[in-house]
């Protein structure tokens, strides 16, 4: 297991994204997808980055994925791993891989979603991943 965990700053929620973060507080992981072109995207936007349609909506995702790339901050005061994870049937998102032996992480490895608490009273948890 990793050593001391890094304190995670709270995300700066805004009106465009508060549905996502409120769902996260309930343990639900939402993806935004486009009602016009049918594609989902990351990070979530009200306006589709694939076709610029304003008709987008939230859908729950089960949180499975695969590591696309990963880097371990080996000399940080609290070692941590940044990664891109490709969600099952969905987009690739920047995230952290947590609760694991960082030296074993590999591109192509299956991972599953875990919400990690962020700093501050009432702050929403952040979607991160751990080996499946």
């Amino acid at each position: 297991m990793a050593g001391k965990e890094r304190a995670i700053p709270a995300p700066g929620v805004n009106p465009e994204t508060e549905v996502f973060w409120n769902a996260a507080k309930e343990g639900k992981f939402l993806l935004r997808s486009c009602d016009d072109c049918g594609k989902s995207h990351w990070y979530p936007r009200a306006v589709c980055p694939h076709c610029l349609s304003e008709k987008t909506s939230w859908h729950e995702h089960k949180g499975g994925g695969t590591i696309y790339s990963v880097s371990v901050m080996a000399r940080a005061p609290e070692v941590y791993a940044v990664a891109y994870v490709t969600l099952d049937g969905g987009p690739t998102m920047m995230t952290n891989i947590v609760d694991c032996d960082f030296s074993t992480l590999k591109i192509g490895q299956k991972v599953k979603l875990v919400f990690k608490p962020t700093q501050g009273e009432g702050a929403p948890p952040f979607p991160m991943f751990t080996p499946a």
């Binding site: 980055p49 880097s71 940080a76 998102m93």
Partner: protein
């Protein structure tokens, strides 16, 4: 419409400082400006166009233009990170071609070394940037963003740490001849791969220096270039672009150079194999490998093999690069390496690089840079210059 032959780089100056505890950022900008104008044989009163980016203190170009008391007809503070100044040369040439100005000054300066800013610390790039809430909490810094590119390059193409190390080795061979370089010791592949891992798979010696400093360029109308005593360094072609996460269709294997490069080569009417010297932004060793592939100096995925065995060392390899020692060994002022890339390219084209690294008859040179984070969203700018 083209900028080909419509403007010349007449002045280029790299501030000699690498640690400026006793100077302000504005002062470093102005000292760099004075140096470049002296180099060109021009004065402040000749300047009618000014270009700077986010490192310039104040609101856009206003703070520094007023500090230097410039009388301007054209201003531009395009900021695409560290390659902004390569774009600025193109924008200056465009403005000159359109008759908007005749003598364009470009400045960069910063004190990240004095102020303790390195690429290992997560930096918020504006609380209201749309990506900030999704990425800043993750501890994304400069080095781990580039490291993810390196990790994917290794996974897809079999690139090795030893191959990446050759980029640093080549830069160090050049830096030994530069009295201003921060790191002048020649290093070996073994030293690079045995240096501490910072963000896997990148080691400390895969990373550029953190230095204070500055630089400036003067881009002029052909009529003015002809009156000056400096070699005529013509702007032959330029291209700029950006690349992001594409809505989640993330692909870390290539950079914005896949667009900026072909535009520059097409405008210049030359091809990669014609280039005698290349300044390639070297924030990290992986940055060089990806950009060389995307610019067409080698096939995609073959960059590791291309840079190995000294191929980037002047007098040794096929493509001499960063003969000042680059960001890896010489200088990375303001954590933005674009202007020093153009400055060394101009030195090479003029035949004024250090004799130990001067490329014979370097009459066609290229400068390319990446700004922002190669691993998330970045700008790319390519510039091709020809000595007349």
């Amino acid at each position: 419409m083209t900028i080909k032959g419509k403007a010349y780089i007449a002045g280029a100056f790299e501030h000699p400082t690498r640690l400026a505890k006793d100077k302000s950022v504005a002062q470093l900008h102005a000292e760099s400006a004075a140096g470049a104008l002296r180099d060109a044989g021009l004065t402040k009163d000749d300047v009618d166009g000014y270009f700077c980016a986010g490192d310039a203190p104040g609101l856009g170009p206003l703070g520094m233009a007023d500090y230097m008391n410039l009388k301007l007809k054209h201003l531009d503070s395009t900021d695409v990170g560290g390659c902004s100044y390569i774009s600025h040369v193109s924008h200056a040439a465009q403005a000159i071609a359109m008759g908007k100005c005749k003598v364009a000054l470009i400045t960069l300066a910063g004190r990240p070394r004095s102020e303790g800013h390195s690429g290992a610390t997560p930096r918020m790039r504006g609380a209201d940037a749309p990506d900030t809430q999704w990425e800043f909490p993750l501890g994304i810094a400069t080095v781990n963003a580039y490291a993810m590119v390196a990790a994917r390059h290794m996974y897809e193409f079999g690139t090795t740490s030893e191959q990446l190390a050759w980029v640093k080795v080549a830069a160090s061979h050049h830096a030994q001849h530069n009295p201003h370089a921060m790191l002048r010791d020649v290093v070996t592949v073994e030293q690079v791969v045995n240096s501490p891992l910072i963000a896997t798979p990148l080691h400390r010696l895969d990373c550029c220096v953190v230095s204070d400093g500055g630089g400036a360029l003067v881009v002029v109308h052909p009529d003015i270039a002809k009156t000056l005593k400096r070699p005529m360094i013509k702007v032959l072609g330029a291209g700029e672009s950006m690349k992001g996460q594409m809505g989640g269709a993330v692909d870390l294997t290539y950079s914005a150079a896949v667009r900026s490069g072909p535009m520059a080569f097409s405008e210049a009417g030359v091809k990669p194999s014609d280039i005698k010297y290349a300044s390639i932004y070297d924030s990290f060793t992986i940055t060089v490998v990806v950009q060389l592939e995307d610019l067409g100096f080698c096939e995609k995925g073959k960059g590791g093999a291309f840079v190995a065995d000294g191929n980037l060392i002047s007098g040794v390899g096929k493509l001499p690069f960063n003969t000042d020692g680059g960001g890896l060994c010489n200088n990375h002022p303001a954590n933005r390496g674009g202007i020093t890339k153009v400055i060394e390219a101009v030195r090479q084209a003029r035949g004024e690089a250090h004799p130990a690294v001067q490329v014979k008859n370097a009459d066609l040179v290229l400068a390319h840079g990446t700004g922002g984070l190669l691993g998330s969203r970045h700008g790319g700018a390519t510039l091709i210059l020809e000595r007349e």
